[in-house]
């Protein structure tokens, strides 16, 4: 099965499937190539198959079909402890009966490393996560963020080339989570290890990753760098899952030069980029980011202009969020930057709203 292209990929999922009960597939035909040094995030709602995929890579679940290659070698039949993959677990899984230093020494001891070398590496790993003084503490005596850092240090102390992280920041509060995102990202940049990261938090994925694989229903819906994922979603699920999104459903009327005209259910005609439609006469969903909608657009600024009624105005400091009724949808969100020249918009006002063709994507229904 060794494909010539696999020499490029450090980790390779090749047609991998997984079923737990022999009836339903949890992972359906997974194909990913992960080059060395990449930070790849598997993002998706719970039950989408992302954690199962990670567990198959770690060796705790076996694929019912397909191969997983690590460094060009199939690891389907390699036991977890022989894969040399570092892993950070959701609840950290720090051994409670060992001190922090003992936790870090564990992977080195099972590799029969000399005592002096173990001590040196443990100290270096602790210093790396700025916990140099905490070696003698028990995990229970550390705060959540400190435990998290120990878990990261433990996964890295034996210098694996690949580190897996299974929602490692899920138990932390918001501020700490953001701080840890940067720390993990910096460690990745500094060490150059390959990281496969699982999360259901899209802002986490956008912050840290080189590429994001959006999982849904056991399949990768889109695999792309963060900007592309947000700016150019390829299907309705990704558009809806990543960031905030206005959804307008309708029917494709005409197609020309990658631009289609869509008749909305309420009768209006909208011009949009033809990204993922099945041709004229088929149903489609238009995706439009709230910050790309303009209120009172200048003449010629937008190809699509409609009238909207402000239903709800929420002041959020850096921007103002307006829920409007546009084209028969009363959940149409517009984000207005809070700039000094903007006049206040009151609830009940009716004003023109518009957007350009480039910001409006026609996707699958």
């Amino acid at each position: 099965m060794a494909n010539p292209a696999s020499s490029e990929a450090y980790v390779r999922f090749d047609g991998v499937q997984k079923s737990y009960d022999g009836v339903n597939l949890v992972v359906k035909d997974l194909n990913v190539d992960i080059p060395r040094g990449e930070f790849l995030t598997m993002l998706g709602p719970s039950g989408s198959g992302k954690t199962t995929s990670l567990m198959m890579l770690a060796g705790f679940e076996t694929a019912t079909h397909g191969d997983i290659f690590l460094n060009g070698r199939s690891i389907n039949n390699v036991a977890p402890h022989k894969r040399g993959i570092g892993m950070v677990f959701q609840n950290y899984a720090l051994f409670p009966h060992m001190t922090v230093a003992e936790n870090l020494a564990f992977p080195l001891q099972v590799r029969k490393m000399g005592k002096a070398e173990v001590e040196e590496k443990v100290q270096r790993a602790l210093d790396m996560v700025e916990l140099g003084e905490f070696g003698n503490r028990r995990p229970a005596q550390l705060s959540g963020g400190q435990q998290q850092r120990v878990a990261v240090a433990r996964a890295l102390v034996f210098e694996p080339d690949l580190v897996l992280m299974d929602e490692p920041l899920g138990a932390l509060d918001k501020n700490l989570r953001e701080q840890m995102q940067y720390e993990i990202k910096h460690i990745h940049d500094r060490l150059g290890v390959t990281v496969v990261y699982v999360t259901h938090d899209q802002s986490e994925a956008l912050t840290m990753s080189n590429r994001i694989a959006v999982f849904e229903d056991g399949r990768i819906q889109q695999l792309a760098p963060p900007t592309e994922l947000y700016e150019k979603p390829e299907n309705a699920f990704v558009a809806q899952f990543i960031g905030e999104n206005n959804k307008l459903s309708g029917k494709v009327d005409a197609l020309a030069d990658g631009i289609c005209e869509v008749v909305l259910d309420s009768g209006e005609r909208v011009k949009a980029l033809d990204i993922n439609t099945d041709g004229a006469g088929t149903a489609t969903t238009l995706s439009l980011r709230p910050e790309r909608v303009f209120l009172n657009p200048a003449e010629g600024q937008c190809q699509n202009v409609f009238s909207g009624k402000a239903e709800e105005v929420i002041y959020l400091g850096d921007h103002i969020r307006v829920r409007m009724n546009v084209c028969g949808h009363d959940d149409f969100i517009v984000k207005v930057p809070n700039s000094s020249d903007k006049k206040g918009l009151a609830e009940g006002d009716t004003i023109p709203v518009g957007w350009s063709i480039d910001d409006c994507r026609a996707l699958d229904a």
């Binding site: 770690a58 977890p80 894969r83 051994f95 009966h97 564990f106 099972v110």
Partner: protein
């Protein structure tokens, strides 16, 4: 009056005092309710546990019989120096006690008590009392005339010694020692030593049973904890089945299984493992006790083990595996240490239950599988030597407490967990 807080936020000492008063008043209702909730249990334990244990402690040194039922001679003997036979006044006091005791039908109790010290004392006293008509002055001559033993100085030493209201003789007995009439304490002859041997046997067999329950219970609990809830519940019922069948039914089925003409021996003979002549004695001895008690006490090991294992997340072992540990290393260095509290709780439960067990050893233990509990029961029910039973009970209690103290020193109380 509300407590005023000044700008610094500190309270003056008087104010702190008032605040404490306010706090305790607001908590009083809660306290009263808590006390009322536990009161019935406390009363119950006081009556059925604390009081009997206190009673046992007292009984192990209490020695009222001779003191109460032979008051005159006990009093008279106080001034006796024990060098030679007592004088007439003491014999007269004895005669008075014997005659009065016979009338009141209480002399037998004193006689029984004296018999614990030296066999033959009962027949000496009751026999003499029966011939009360012959007891006439001068009493010394007349009593020695009835029973020659009244002329033996040791007899008098025993009465004097046993006349004291508090005695250590039950404990001396319980330690397999004897006290000579002169008060010298020494070990009883080898063949008469029973209790220390029994204590030792009780301890090591209890340890063996505890070890067996760990050995058998650990894998079962491990399986139970790793299975899905539904399957685990069904298996748990099987584990608890011994709890739901009567102890006697279980014990008799062990007899049916293990006896020389029993199922297991038949099977072994049929398989040709042993010959028909060399059937193995597996019951009415130590093997029987260990097998039956391991079976009976196994749930007490499995339940705490299971509930502790249930709380160990599988991610620990996974983490260890991902860090490079083999299955065995991950199990031994990561999983097992986290189940130690469960093993501890189970081991203490099983050990303490088995060290005081008595019905099963009595039924299947025979001679070599008998526990100290059986001896205590014997003295309670058969020989009616409650003092000795109490002394043995106190020794058992002290031993269990000592083991528990040692254990909590070595393992630590906080390492005991029931889930």
């Amino acid at each position: 009056m509300a407590i005023t807080v000044d700008s610094t936020g500190d309270l003056s000492p008087e104010e702190q005092k008032r605040l404490k008063g306010d706090l305790s008043r607001s908590l009083r209702q809660k306290k009263i309710r808590a006390i009322l909730l536990v009161a019935p249990l406390v009363a119950f334990i006081l009556v059925t546990f604390i009081f009997p244990i206190g009673n046992m402690l007292v009984r192990s040194v209490d020695n009222p019989q001779v003191h109460t039922y032979m008051p005159n001679v006990t009093e008279a003997l106080k001034s006796w120096d024990g060098q030679e036979l007592p004088d007439e006044t003491i014999y007269a006091a004895l005669a008075k006690d014997l005659i009065e005791g016979r009338k009141a039908k209480t002399i037998g109790k004193a006689a029984t008590r004296l018999n614990y010290e030296k066999s033959g004392m009962r027949s000496l006293i009751t026999g003499t009392a029966r011939k009360h008509k012959k007891i006439v002055a001068p009493y010394k001559e007349s009593l020695i005339g009835i029973k020659k033993k009244w002329g033996d100085i040791d007899t008098w030493k025993i009465i004097k010694k046993t006349g004291s209201p508090v005695t250590g003789s039950f404990f001396i007995n319980a330690f397999d020692m004897v006290e000579s009439p002169d008060g010298e304490i020494s070990f009883a002859p080898e063949k008469q030593q029973i209790y220390l041997k029994l204590f030792w046997r009780t301890v090591w067999m209890s340890l063996l049973i505890t070890f067996m329950t760990v050995l058998l219970g650990y894998p079962v609990s491990f399986l139970l904890a790793s299975l899905p809830m539904k399957t685990a519940n069904i298996l748990m019922i099987l584990v608890l089945l011994p709890f739901w069948t009567s102890l006697l039914v279980r014990t008799s089925s062990w007899i049916a299984l293990l006896q020389t003409e029993g199922i297991l021996n038949d099977l072994l003979v049929w398989l040709g493992v042993i010959s028909n002549e060399a059937r193995v004695q597996m019951i009415y001895n130590a093997i029987g006790t260990v097998v039956a008690m391991t079976h009976i006490l196994l749930p007490f090991m499995i339940l705490p083990l299971y509930s502790v294992m249930k709380t160990v997340p599988p991610s620990y072992v996974r983490a260890a595996r991902s860090l490079g540990a083999t299955n065995w290393t991950a199990f031994w260095r990561v999983y097992v240490p986290q189940t130690v509290p469960g093993v501890s709780a189970g081991a203490i439960l099983v050990f303490i239950l088995s060290i005081g067990y008595y019905i099963t050893p009595a039924l299947v233990g025979g001679e070599s599988g008998r526990f100290i509990g059986n001896m205590i029961a014997y003295h309670m029910q058969k020989s009616l030597n409650w003092g000795l039973a109490a002394a043995l009970g106190v020794m058992l209690l002290v031993m269990v407490l000592a083991i528990f103290a040692l254990y909590s020193r070595v393992v630590g109380d906080n390492k005991v967990k029931l889930g």
